[in-house]
Structures are given as structure tokens and as C-alpha cells.
């Protein structure tokens, strides 16, 4: 049988041989889709354009549409213990990390490990039963992997992440009444959008049962009724392959598979709370105990949409970064929103947001990413992705009060009307006047930093030269970017520009788009000379140390 699960827009096709029935855990229910539709077609990220978007928000209910269905990853799920070849080298060893009030500690208990040889990377997870482990095999360069899921679906590990939401507890219900397409979770609830596949998911009640109730599980799956006798039990697991019902993604193998999938794609998997407030996508990340859940609760209580409050995937999609929910809790569902600002949070005595940039911002992002730093290529990909993210999306450090005032603080901060100011600036330049503005962004970092005063002169009939910093009209506003070259295309002069801190060149602009040229940059009252290098008083100040505890590997 085949089960397709789509997470963060990436389609994972789980398949098994006849006689092995795949019953993923409840937490994947809303992420499973019939294999002949594409649930993820991101049309545009502007408010109101998405087919099933909530009015007035740029949150998208993932639309179910027919279309391309090729999976990003195929996983053959087999029942039985996977072998780690004797010659494979163990490259990573993770012990079970226990959460306790105030942090995370190493329990010393084996949890999962990674091996590598010439053929493949393999990861083995230890399940509750010491006799059982599951193995994920990833041949180098192939997106067809194998899972040896030595676990019956109802032998699901008791360590699976159920603690935050007790069985009878519904997590903050982020859905609202305007979007009827929200799948609801809960025992026996039919997901009308995906009837044939989601029925295969064990409901909460079912996963808690043992022995006697198994026949009910099978009748509820509705998939292979003829093959399932009511006498199947864990003890019979090895008896007859035709009677096997398997959890293909036993925790924590699911998180590892997602890590490897997203890591290979250059995406970022991060611990945080993502919300949409005032039409803006905000992500709050931080160590365990820094207040992610508190913040999600504050925004949820104000009827903002919470994308996820624990683990998200960030992807560059087209021109921007987008955040996605991932299945962690049993009533999670696919949710997504463009990312407009990322905050690294901590509890504080006041609400204060301070911008960070450059290596510091990249380090702060990486400190909260899910990662395994044994593979240099993966580490380099993550650093590149975090660098691009930090250059594309504003990153700030946020200390906040847990009383809810932080929401107003951030909303107020975000609603400065910059459009009016931009119009006035362009009008002044067109009238032949020099203007002075305060820089606000990072795209020209470090030549121009937020808070710098920038003196802009009109360019009149002359054009800026390569190396000069130009002011270009853009979407009713303006951008300040450096001219990289001036080209002639079919007799038309075009100015190519790029932000110093941005990895991509802008679309070439016609000469009419040039509004002015930067003549001076003033920082702290001093005119900045671009090429002068100042010596720190002592050279050994250079080795700045960041004591970032990289939390969250255990999940």
C-alpha cells in the first residue's frame, strides 16, 4: 500500500509490499493526502489571492488541487529489524535528553545513532522495547530510502511527544469558523477532505489500546479488512507477514527522517512559535524555557493564527522565506505563512526588540535549528540557508513580558507608515533636491547599517557608475542598492544593482527607475569612509565567543 504525507510542501511517499499495512501515528493524520492530488500549490503569498485563504490574512489553508504528484522522497517500509553493516562507521550518537523545569539534560540512555559507509547513511532509533529498534537507510544521492520499522503500530513508544497535550486536552484551537477546510482531529473524526487515506490513521483511542481492541483498529482502517484477523497481537508479529500492521514512522524516527529530508533540500528546521499577526508572519525562536509556548499562547488568545508552537520548517520559496508547521502533536495540521520577521526571544523585564545582523544573526538562527553537526556538507548547507534567511528577513532579539503587552508592542512597531515618507523622498529628488534619510534595513550591510544617516543626491541626467550606491524606485517605495554594472540590452541602458548583503542581483532597472545616488553615509555623527580599516585596540579581541547552547537535538 501507499501513503503520501506532505509536510512543508514536500511529499513523502511511504510504500509497503502487499500484506504490510501502514498505519502512521495520529499526528500525521492531517498531513496525509491521496496520492493523486497535489495539496500544495503556493499560488502567491499576497493577502486575498490564495484560493482558500482566510479573508484579510496571508495565511493559506493548503488548497487541495489536482496536479503534479511526483513525490520528493519515496520510502519503502519493511517490517523487521534493519541491519547496520559491521563496517559502517558510527558518526553520531545521541542520548535521550530529558526536559526538566529550567532546561534539558542528558539522561545517558541510548536514543538514536547515525552510521555511514560507502553505500548509505543509516540511522537507528531505540524504541521503548529494548528488543526493538527501527532503522532508516538513506543510500547516498538517492531519494528512495528504506525504513525497517520493527514496530507494530500499537507498540508505539510511550516516549512519543504526548506530554505537552494530555490525551483529553485539545491544544490551542488555532482554527476559526471561517475556514471550513480545517481538518479536526479526535477519535473517530472523519477528515472529509482525505477519506481514503486518513482512515488508515490510528485514532487516539486506538493507539492507546492493546490486544483485545486490535480488531477495532483494523476495521477502522478500512483498508485491508480481509487480511486482518482479530487475533493479531504484538507477540504474533513475526508469525506471518500477511498479518503485519506497521507504524512506518515511529517516534523519534519521524523527526530524523524529516531532518534528513529538509537538510538535503537546503531547508531549515527550527524550534519556535510561528504566528500571523496583523497580516505579518512572525517567528519566535529560542532555547527551551525562553517563552515560545507563552508567546504562542498570547497570540492565540488574541485570535491570531498560530502556525505551530514547537517545530517549523523554513523554506525559500520563490522570492521569500515561508514557514510551515510540522507534525509534532496529534492534532497538528499543515499550516503555512510567509515569514516577515524572526525574533530570538527571552523573558525580560520589558518588551524590547533590538535588530541583529550579520554573523550574529546567523549564529542566533543556527543555535535554534535542528541539526546534526557530524556531516560537513549538511553543516555548510545549514549555514548557507541561515545566512540567506538572515539577509532576507529582519532578525531581532526580543525580550518580553509574559503578560500579553508584547503583542501590542510588536504590532505598533510594525505599523510605521513608510509609504508616505517614500513618496515624499522621491518627490524631493525629482525636484532636484538632496535628501537625508535614516537607513532601516540590512540589505546594504555593512556599508549602510540601520540607523545610519544617508545623504542622497538627485542624479539629474547622469547615471550612477558601477560601485556607487543608487536609490531605485520600487513598488511605490524605494530601495538603496549598489550598482554592479550598467549594461545595454537592445539599445536600452539597464542598471544592474544588488544589496551588499544580498546574494542575488536585482532585476535590471531602466534609467527612469534611478531616483538618486548616495553621496554620504553618516554614522554616530561621523562621515563613514568606506575603505578605512580601524584596528581594535587588541588583536585578540577578535575571537569573540558565542556561548549559544544548541538546544533541541533530542527531538
Amino acid at each position: 500500500m501507499t501513503v503520501d504525507i506532505v509536510i512543508a510542501g514536500r511529499r513523502i511517499r511511504l510504500q509497503s509490499e502487499e500484506g504490510v499495512t501502514l498505519v502512521p501515528d495520529e499526528r500525521f493524520r492531517a498531513f496525509a493526502v491521496p496520492s493523486d492530488v497535489n495539496p500544495y500549490m503556493f499560488i502567491d503569498t499576497a493577502p486575498g489571492i490564495l484560493a482558500d485563504a482566510d479573508p484579510g490574512s496571508n495565511y493559506a489553508v493548503i488548497p487541495f488541487m489536482a496536479g503534479e504528484t511526483d513525490p520528493d522522497l519515496v520510502v519503502d517500509v519493511e517490517f523487521g529489524a534493519g541491519e547496520i553493516p559491521a563496517w559502517a562507521v558510527k558518526v553520531f550518537d545521541a542520548r535521550l535528553m530529558e526536559e526538566f523545569p529550567g532546561g534539558v539534560r542528558n539522561s545517558g540512555e541510548p536514543f538514536w545513532e547515525v552510521f555511514r559507509d560507502d553505500e548509505a547513511v543509516r540511522t537507528r532509533v531505540f524504541l521503548r522495547d529494548p528488543e526493538r529498534s527501527a532503522v532508516l537507510e538513506m543510500p547516498h544521492g538517492k531519494m528512495q530510502w528504506r525504513i525497517f520499522a520493527d514496530t507494530l503500530h500499537n507498540a508505539i513508544d510511550s516516549r512519543s511527544p504526548q506530554k505537552p497535550y494530555p490525551t483529553d486536552h485539545q491544544p490551542p484551537d488555532h482554527s476559526d469558523n471561517t475556514s471550513g477546510a480545517q481538518p479536526q482531529s479526535g477519535p473517530g473524526h472523519d477528515n472529509s477532505g482525505t477519506p481514503s487515506v486518513t482512515e488508515a490513521f490510528a485514532t487516539e483511542h486506538m493507539t492507546q489500546t492493546s490486544g483485545d481492541d486490535k480488531s477495532r483498529v483494523h476495521s477502522r482502517t478500512g483498508l485491508t479488512p480481509d487480511r486482518h484477523g482479530s487475533d493479531l497481537s504484538a507477540e504474533d508479529a513475526s508469525a506471518d507477514i500477511s498479518d503485519i500492521t506497521v507504524d512506518p514512522l515511529p517516534w523519534p524516527l519521524d523527526g530524523l527522517l524529516l531532518y534528513f529530508l529538509f537538510s538535503r533540500a537546503g531547508d531549515i528546521m527550527i524550534h519556535g512559535s510561528g504566528v500571523v499577526a496583523g497580516g505579518r508572519g512572525w517567528l519566535f525562536t529560542g532555547r527551551s524555557g525562553s517563552g515560545k509556548t507563552t508567546l504562542a499562547g498570547i497570540f492565540d488568545g488574541a485570535d491570531d493564527r498560530v502556525i505551530h508552537d514547537d517545530r517549523l520548517v523554513l523554506r525559500r520559496e520563490g522570492g521569500r522565506w515561508v514557514m510551515h508547521s510540522t507534525p509534532v502533536y496529534r492534532n497538528d495540521e499543515p499550516r503555512t505563512a510567509p515569514l516577515d520577521h524572526l525574533w530570538v526571544i527571552r523573558h525580560g523585564a520589558a518588551n524590547v526588540s533590538e535588530p541583529v545582523a550579520g554573523a550574529e544573526a546567523v549564529a542566533m538562527i543556527m543555535a535554534n535549528c535542528i541539526q546534526q553537526n557530524w556531516d560537513p556538507e549538511a553543516a555548510a548547507r545549514m549555514a548557507a540557508a541561515a545566512d540567506d534567511l538572515a539577509a532576507s528577513v529582519p532578525v531581532s532579539r526580543l525580550s518580553f513580558l509574559p503578560d500579553g503587552t508584547v503583542r501590542d508592542y510588536l504590532l505598533l512597531r510594525a505599523t510605521d507608515d513608510k509609504t508616505v515618507a517614500a513618496g515624499a523622498l522621491l518627490e524631493m529628488l525629482d525636484g532636484g533636491h538632496a535628501v537625508t534619510v535614516t537607513a532601516g534595513g540590512y540589505s546594504m550591510w555593512p556599508a549602510i547599517r540601520p540607523g545610519d544617516t544617508v545623504v542622497i543626491a538627485p542624479c539629474g541626467t547622469s547615471l550612477p557608475e558601477a560601485g556607487e550606491i543608487a536609490v531605485l524606485r520600487r513598488d511605490g517605495g524605494y530601495v538603496i542598492h549598489r550598482v554592479t554594472r550598467v549594461i545595454s540590452r537592445e539599445g536600452v541602458l539597464l542598471i544592474c544593482t544588488q544589496g551588499d548583503a544580498v546574494t542575488r542581483e536585482d532585476e535590471p532597472a531602466g534609467t527612469a527607475m534611478i531616483a538618486g545616488v548616495v553621496r554620504k553615509i553618516i554614522r554616530s555623527g561621523m562621515e563613514i569612509h568606506q575603505h578605512r580599516r580601524l584596528l581594535p585596540r587588541r588583536v585578540n579581541r577578535l575571537a569573540a565567543y558565542i556561548a549559544s547552547v544548541l538546544s533541541g537535538y533530542s527531538r
Binding site: K90, V91, F92, D93, A94, R95, M97, N106, A357, G358, A359, E360, V362, A363, M366, A367, Q371, N373, W374, D375, P376, A379, A380, A383, A384, D387, A390, W445, P446, A501, R533, L535, P536, R538, V539, N540, R541, L542, A543, A544, Y545, I546, A547, S548, V549, L550, Y553, S554
Partner: protein, 96 residues
């Protein structure tokens, strides 16, 4: 013991990335318990890091620091040795 004649090269057990004027160093590890820190080299540290090529000695690099920056040689040597010892887990040294 690192001396002015020692020749440093980057360790294969560290991944590094230039970000604007700085470098981020990501130590590789085989164990979750050791995976707790990233290191950041500021502008001057990045200047030195980029000079490390497995050919130039600590003394050669110090000369280039003195050329680039307004600093006296003995101070630069002392600071460079201190800097190299601080980041030695990311380096391998050989003697000529």
C-alpha cells in the same frame, strides 16, 4: 606549543562561512553532548582566518597583520599567538 614558526591550517573538523566581515565557525562533532557552541570571528579574526593556508607561518601572518593594521610588531605577535591558541581546536599545526 604554538610558536611564530608554526604553520597553521584549517582543521577538517570545522565548517566555516564568511558572513559580511566575519566568520562563523561550526565545529563538527559525533556526539550530541559536545554540540553546544558556535564560534564567531570578528573582522580582524576573519582577516587572519583567511590568511591561514597551510603555507604561511604564524610569523608570516603577523607580518601581514602589521602591514594591514596600524599596530606594532611585538604587540601583534603577542596577540596573534594568543589568538591562535584560543582557536587551536579549529586548526592543525605543523613545524617547517
Amino acid at each position: 606549543m604554538i610558536s611564530l614558526s608554526s604553520i597553521p591550517s584549517h582543521s577538517p573538523a570545522v565548517v566555516f562561512r564568511r558572513i559580511n566581515d566575519e566568520f562563523l565557525l561550526i565545529p563538527l562533532t559525533d556526539n550530541i553532548a559536545d554540540m553546544d557552541s558556535l564560534y564567531r570571528l570578528t573582522e580582524t579574526g576573519a582577516f587572519i582566518w583567511e590568511l591561514i593556508d597551510g603555507e604561511l607561518s604564524v610569523g608570516d601572518i603577523t607580518s601581514k597583520i602589521v602591514e594591514e593594521f596600524d599596530v606594532e610588531k611585538d604587540i601583534a605577535e603577542k596577540d596573534a599567538l594568543e589568538f591562535f591558541s584560543k582557536i587551536q581546536e579549529f586548526l592543525q599545526f605543523r613545524e617547517p
